[in-house]
Each structure stands twice: as C-alpha cells, then as structure tokens.
C-alpha cells in the first residue's frame, strides 16, 4: 500500500474511533443503564486481572530494587533506595506497566469476544431481542475498564513496593516500618495524584480500542484474530501517547 493510502487509512481509522468514542459518551449517559452487566464486567475485567497484575507488580518491584542497588551503592546513597524505587513505581512504572499488562489481557479479550460475537451474528441476535448491543456490550466494558484499571494500579503499586522491600532485604537489613516511612514520607501531591488520574485515561483507552476493534471485526475467524491482535498493539501505543501528554501537562502545571 502506498504511503499516501496508508496515511489516508490511518486518518479514516482515527475518525472512526473518534465517532465510536462520541457514540460511547452519547449512549452511555442515556438510560437504560445496564448495571447488572456492568458489575459482571467489573468482576471479569478487574478481579480476573488481579493475579497477573499482582505477579508482575511483585517481580517488577523486586527486580527494579536489585538492579538499582549497585549504582546507588557506588554513589554512596544506598539508603535512598526505598525512596527512589517508590517514586519510580508510583509515578511511572506502576501505572504504565500495569496498563500494558491490562491492555494485553483485556483489550485482546474484548477484541476477540466482541469480534467472535459479531461474526457469529450474536450481536445482531441481541439487537433483534430488543437489546441495544452497543450499550450492553460496549458501554459496560469500557466503563468497567475505566473503573477497574486505577484500582488494579493501586493494588499493583502496593504489591510492587512489597517486592521492593524484599529486594532491599536480600542484601541489607531494613525494617518494614522504616522502608514504608521512607517511601511514603517523601511522596508529594504531584507524585501521586497525576499518576492516579492518568490511569483512568489508560483504562478508558484500553476499553475503547478493545471494543472498537472487536465490534467492527469482519472477515470471519481471521478477522477475529486480527481484531484481538491489533487491539493490543494499538492500546499499548495509545497508553504511551497518553503518558507523554500527561507528563507535558503536569510539567506545565509545575507538578513534576
């Protein structure tokens, strides 16, 4: 495909996603609200992602601590290890890594499930059953994704810090209280709040892209595979773009 056509296809898809998002807000704010399905999706998306987020968070905290320690020892600031790891995890690594893991698990699942429902006519069946499939399938999933990711990030950060505490104690001897006081006492408003707020946007982006790819899936089973795959790739890229924008905004606001 020539570059011009590729660029045109990119613009078309961007426009389609923007329309999809506008439809999401329009339909999501009008009754009837699908609370029961929303709760089910919160369970599916949030609770079922917890083990993966916890495991990766723990390993991330442990490994980061062990790899940072030698450099800090060289500069004679090994005592600052909990502070540095804490800030890195809470401000950047925790939200971004958790969002990427979340995108890998949830965006692909949304793409595959909705894509499969599309090609097997289940979405049409829902429509002729008097159900608005967009509200029932898309609005609930995107809302659940937006609400669950921040909670997962908080839990992931906490587990990551625990991993870091164990990492500190492999080579040293620091009490649990001292470690957490050193981490928490040095946190500022600008460390925690922007990092927390951006996770809502990560969750929203993962939900929108996963659902968009699945809902508009075509070309049978091959299309379902493509939908799942491209949902993960695009969601991951968008997470980095949102992160880039948020860091610029917090910088302008003097929160960095």
């Amino acid at each position: 495909m020539p570059a011009q056509q590729k660029f045109q296809a990119f613009l078309n898809e961007t426009g389609d996603i923007a329309r999809f998002t506008a439809r999401l807000f329009l339909q999501g704010t009008r009754p009837r609200f699908e609370f029961r399905e929303l709760l089910r999706q919160c369970y599916q998306i949030g609770y079922n992602s917890l083990p993966l987020v916890a495991l990766t968070g723990f390993i991330m905290g442990l490994v980061l601590t062990m790899q940072l320690r030698p450099s800090l020892v060289v500069y004679g600031v090994a005592s600052q290890l909990p502070l540095m790891v804490g800030i890195a995890i809470v401000r950047e690594i925790g939200p971004v890594i958790t969002a990427l893991i979340f995108a890998g698990k949830i965006a692909s699942s949304m793409g595959a499930v909705l894509g499969s429902m599309r090609v097997t006519e289940q979405i049409d069946a829902m429509e002729v059953s008097g159900t608005n499939p967009f509200k029932y399938l898309v609005v609930t999933r995107v809302t659940a994704s937006t609400l669950m990711l921040p909670i997962l990030v908080v839990i992931g950060d906490a587990i990551s810090l625990f991993g870091s505490y164990l990492g500190v104690n492999i080579r040293g001897n620091t009490s649990f209280n001292l470690f957490f006081r050193q981490v928490v006492d040095n946190f500022a408003f600008g460390d925690v709040l922007p990092a927390f707020i951006k996770t809502y946007f990560f969750g929203l982006a993962v939900g929108i892209i996963g659902c968009y790819k699945g809902y508009h899936s075509t070309k049978g089973t091959e299309g379902v595979g493509k939908a799942a795959n491209s949902a993960v790739v695009l969601a991951s890229i968008v997470i980095f773009f949102i992160d880039l924008i948020v860091v610029q905004i917090t910088d302008l606001l003097g929160l960095n």
């Binding site: 097997t120 006519e121 289940q122 069946a125 429509e127 008097g130």
Partner: protein, 263 residues
C-alpha cells in the same frame, strides 16, 4: 402463480392474501438495497398474510438474507418500504422498533446462541430485555414449555457448545418462540444439517406454524425444506420477485431459471 413480466404466467394462482380479506402482516414495496456498486435488491415486492409460510427461494448471495434483515430493521433499505404490521420499519424510532421486534422472531443461519450463557439464560434473555413482568416461576414454566415444544426439555442447564448442530438450531428456535411472535423469519434453517435433521427442523417449522399461528418467511435453497414448509414460494433472481406460486406450480414451470431449483 404470479410472475413479473416478461415471464409466462402459470395458471391457477394461489389466493391473494389481501384479496381474500387476510391483511398482510408484511408488505414490501419497491425495496432496493445495494452494497457499493453491487445491487442486491431491485424494486422487490412481497406480501405475507397471517399464518402464511412464504419461502424465498434463490441462489446463495442473491440477497435473501438482506431482505429479512431489512424487514427486522438490521439493515436500512436504500429506497422502498418494508411494512410490518402496517408500520414502515425504516421510520420507526428505537422504542417502536423494539416493540415491533418483540412480535417478530428471527432464526439466524448460524443460530447466534450466546455462547457464554446456558440454554436457560439464552431463552430468558429476550424476556428480560423486553421488560416482561413475570415471576421466576412463570419464566421457568415458559422456558420449560418452549423447550418441550422443540423436543429438548432436558437441555436447560447445558452450554451451547455441548449441543449438536441440530440441537442448537432447535434451541435457537425455542429462543425465538419464547416471546410468542406473530411472525418468524427463518434464515436458511436447514443449512449445515444432515438430511434427517434437516427434515426434522422443516417439520418443526410447520408444527410451530400450526401451534403458534405464526406467519413466516423462510429463506432456503434446500428443496426438501421448501417442499415441506411452503404455502407459497417466491423466487428471487436479480434482486426481483422473479416468480411466485405453490411448490407444484413452480415445479412444473418450463422457465429454465425456475426449473434449475427443482432438478
């Protein structure tokens, strides 16, 4: 039999449902639908009377499924009207469309059972979505009744993946029946089934017509199914109502395009 000019008409046309005082539940006039440059339906006309089984006969890809999707509002026609119970489907607002859909069942070619739900949940889904005020006991009774009607009373707690192709078709039919529709649209109900199961489904369609007093449009190119289920057959060729008549009338037609279906 009625044929659109210039084809030679066959004598002894079936009674016109409208002339017989049987107001059509579906009336389609000049329906056109294209996808890009590909014209699928080209000024298609059709009337379906109460409790009448009309089979739409045509080759694959000629627009049979597009036609019934226009009737139920899943696709919007480019021009022309599809009236159901006297209302133009394309002009209905969301609530009116939902009310109309509660009276029209749709059996999908792929069955379209919700594969994450049990058979019971599949059957209860349309009831819950249409806000039908029923106690759980009444819902259970209705689920049992439609499952017995399709001969699968023991499958309520099974998942769709545990069922054979014929059983899935019956469950999809049960889901269609649970709202007691006045019209049922069947999209190739016997496709993908072995001949014996296909005949069973065809017999079930006629039983349902008699038991539930439904009007039906049956999309098919399975001639066993067509013979068993049709009160009237409409042949769809080049997007138009090419010919219509009873099975016997069309079978004896000398027109090569019609005759090819009966060979």
């Amino acid at each position: 039999m009625r044929e659109t000019a210039p084809y030679e008409p066959i004598a002894a046309a079936p009674p016109d449902p409208v002339a017989a005082g049987n107001a059509p539940v579906i009336r389609i006039r000049d329906l056109c639908k294209s996808f890009g440059d590909h014209v699928v339906l080209d000024n298609f006309d059709l009337d379906v009377g109460k409790e009448e089984n009309v089979v739409i006969l045509g080759k694959s890809g000629v627009g049979k499924s597009v036609l019934i999707k226009c009737i139920v509002g899943l696709l919007r026609p480019d021009s022309g009207t599809a009236q159901v119970f006297g209302e133009n489907v394309a002009e209905l607002d969301h609530d009116a469309l939902d009310r109309m859909r509660a009276r029209v069942g749709f059996l999908f070619q792929s069955n379209a059972l919700y594969d994450s739900m049990t058979v019971r949940a599949n059957l209860e889904f349309p009831l819950r979505r249409h806000w039908i005020a029923m106690s759980q006991q009444e819902v259970d009774g209705l689920v049992r009744e439609v499952l017995e009607d399709v001969g699968l009373a023991q499958t309520a707690e099974m998942m769709p993946e545990e069922l054979s192709g014929g059983m899935r078709k019956r469950i999809a039919l049960a889901r269609t029946l649970i709202l007691k529709p006045e019209i049922i649209l069947y999209d190739e109900p016997t496709t993908g089934l072995d001949p014996v199961t296909g005949r069973e489904i065809s017999k079930l369609i006629t039983e349902i017509q008699h038991r539930y007093h439904t009007a039906s449009i049956i999309i098919s190119h399975d001639m066993h199914c067509v013979r068993l289920t049709s009160d009237r057959i409409v042949v769809l060729i080049d997007g138009r109502n090419y010919a219509e008549g009873s099975y016997q009338q069309l079978q004896s037609s000398s027109d090569a395009q019609i005759h090819q279906f009966f060979e």
